[in-house]
């Protein structure tokens, strides 16, 4: 499982990059969902997001999930290419699989660092 150290992680399996404002689905989440066949980004540029607000809906062959914003902020960019190639979420969740970027957001204290998130995932695998 890949958990880059520069990112912050939510309990609902989203990552947030404080440096770029990007967010998306974690490697753990994509592997649990397996083959992703559909993604719909549900927010637009300029829209406000906050924890608990869905930013995307993801469907795999066998499962579905909502992706929530890990932070408070305003959407500055949406990854429009993602809906054309939803399998990017499987192959490159932290790179080309980013979903939206927000401006001026700081991660809250409820977000985990990579070590804590790895532990959190390991606990759930049992």
């Amino acid at each position: 499982m890949n958990t880059p150290a520069n990112l912050k992680y939510s309990k609902t399996d989203e990552w947030f990059d404080p440096a770029t404002g990007a967010m998306g689905l974690t490697d753990y989440a994509q592997s649990q969902l397996s083959d992703i066949v559909f993604v719909e980004i549900q927010v637009e540029s300029g829209e406000s997001v906050a924890p608990g607000k869905a930013i995307a809906s993801v469907e795999s062959v066998k499962a579905s999930a909502e992706t929530y914003s890990p932070v408070v902020g305003q959407v500055s960019e949406v990854n429009k290419a993602l809906s054309e190639k939803p399998e990017t979420l499987n192959s490159d969740p932290y790179g080309a699989g980013w979903m939206v970027k927000v401006a001026g957001a700081t991660p809250g204290s409820d977000l985990m660092d990579s070590a804590a998130y790895e532990k959190y995932c390991a606990e759930r695998s049992h």
Binding site: D35, V37, F38, V61, E87
Partner: protein
Amino acid sequence: MTETTVAVSPKIVEPTIFDLSSTGRTGVTFPEPDVPLAKLPTSLLRKDLPLPELAEVDVIRHYTRLSTFNYGVDSGFYPLGSCTMKYNPKINEDTCRLPGFLFTHPLQPVETVQGNLALMYQLQEWLQEISGFPAITLQPAAGAHGEFTGVLIMRAYHRARGDAKRIKMLIPDSAHGTNPASAGMTGLQIVQIPSDARGNVDLEALKAACDDTVLGMMLTNPNTLGLFDEHILDVTKIVHDCGGLMYGDGANLNALLGIVRPAELGFDIMHFNLHKTFAVPHGGGGPGSGPVGVAAHLADFLPAPLVDIVEEGSDDTPPLFGFVTPKQSIGRMKAFHGHFGGGMVRAFTYIAMHGPDGLKDISQYAVLNANYLMARLRKAYHVPFDRTCMHEFVAEGRFEGSDVRALDVAKRLMDYGFHPPTNYFPLIVHEALMIEPTETENKDTLDAFVDALLKIAEEAKSQPSLLHDAPLTTKFGRMDEVKAARELVLCCWLPENGIADI
């Protein structure tokens, strides 16, 4: 999913009807017009009609071949949990096709369809007697449609009392997905209630969730673990005490005929599945039929119209049946009157042929068969909630020291000639295998099924690859579901392609 590395064109086992088309053929001809021809509206005519052209023999052979790729209850044992795949008596196929039923129009004057209306009225009465609910609508088309009807009725009831703050539906974690989806369609919030260690509703969690924002609770009893809730009267009381209504999902009614009337347990409303309990064949996925029964305080909200006696009869004349609209009806759930021919006539025939004792036998033997299978299987398959079950039970398809999963067990069963049980449901059991034998199977069949499952449990340890690769003896193997979802070929005709060979 098994890896497939086939780069060549797939092998065609059976061409589609479009593949089989050849210009100039037709399977049926109609008489020439016996009236003068009218002018066709040229600007409104379609450009082409890309339908295939086949002779009757081509069509019959094609669909006959396709039928042989299917497995139905007529083919063999079909223990698909929660679906009640019992034998469908052949007489029902004949009665529902009587010309008086087939060729009556839904909008005929009621005087000309008294047979249909009498049958519907009688079926309403019988379902009332079986369930204890004093009013029934036959209109809903399927179980999920009945659920949606029920949720709308519950909502309308509270609103009619001026209570619009009830916005939550309580649903156990073991529920069918249709329950939250039906409630979600009316904008309600779903509150999930956990199950306790014995597979009952967790009473403490239920109490904690109950307040004056609760519209009601949707409960399947016996639940999807096949267990009758040991505190059912407490559950219905707790929900009633907070002002909520109890919805019963009648998916598992096959365990309760002549055993208990759901209304007497405190349910306010329940849907029936005529296609499960009353032997209406499932038709490869429909049509179903999902009548809804309600307690007296909900009767005014039933969908319109209902069948009732509109003129009392006398010694010499039968009563006149007609349609009536309840005072505060939620409206109409579908066009016309429900699945009359496919659902109601078959269910009516079935109930008429069973009578009170026969119905009780159905449930008793359905429960006997399930408990027998459980008793014989529990050593080889872990049964997570191990107590007397009702008409079905849930075992786990996983084994110490083996990577075999429920899916593999299910697929391997096909090699032994059986339809697999439901797998991966309910969600609260890992690697669930949900087994519902029904009452129409004999002991030899049940024993053969047990033998196959015991053999598979051995194979899971000795030859796991056999299970991963299963089925091997069927006409088709495991499917590439990722390809299907990613490439999305949903039709063999596309507007831009036109049709091959025409």
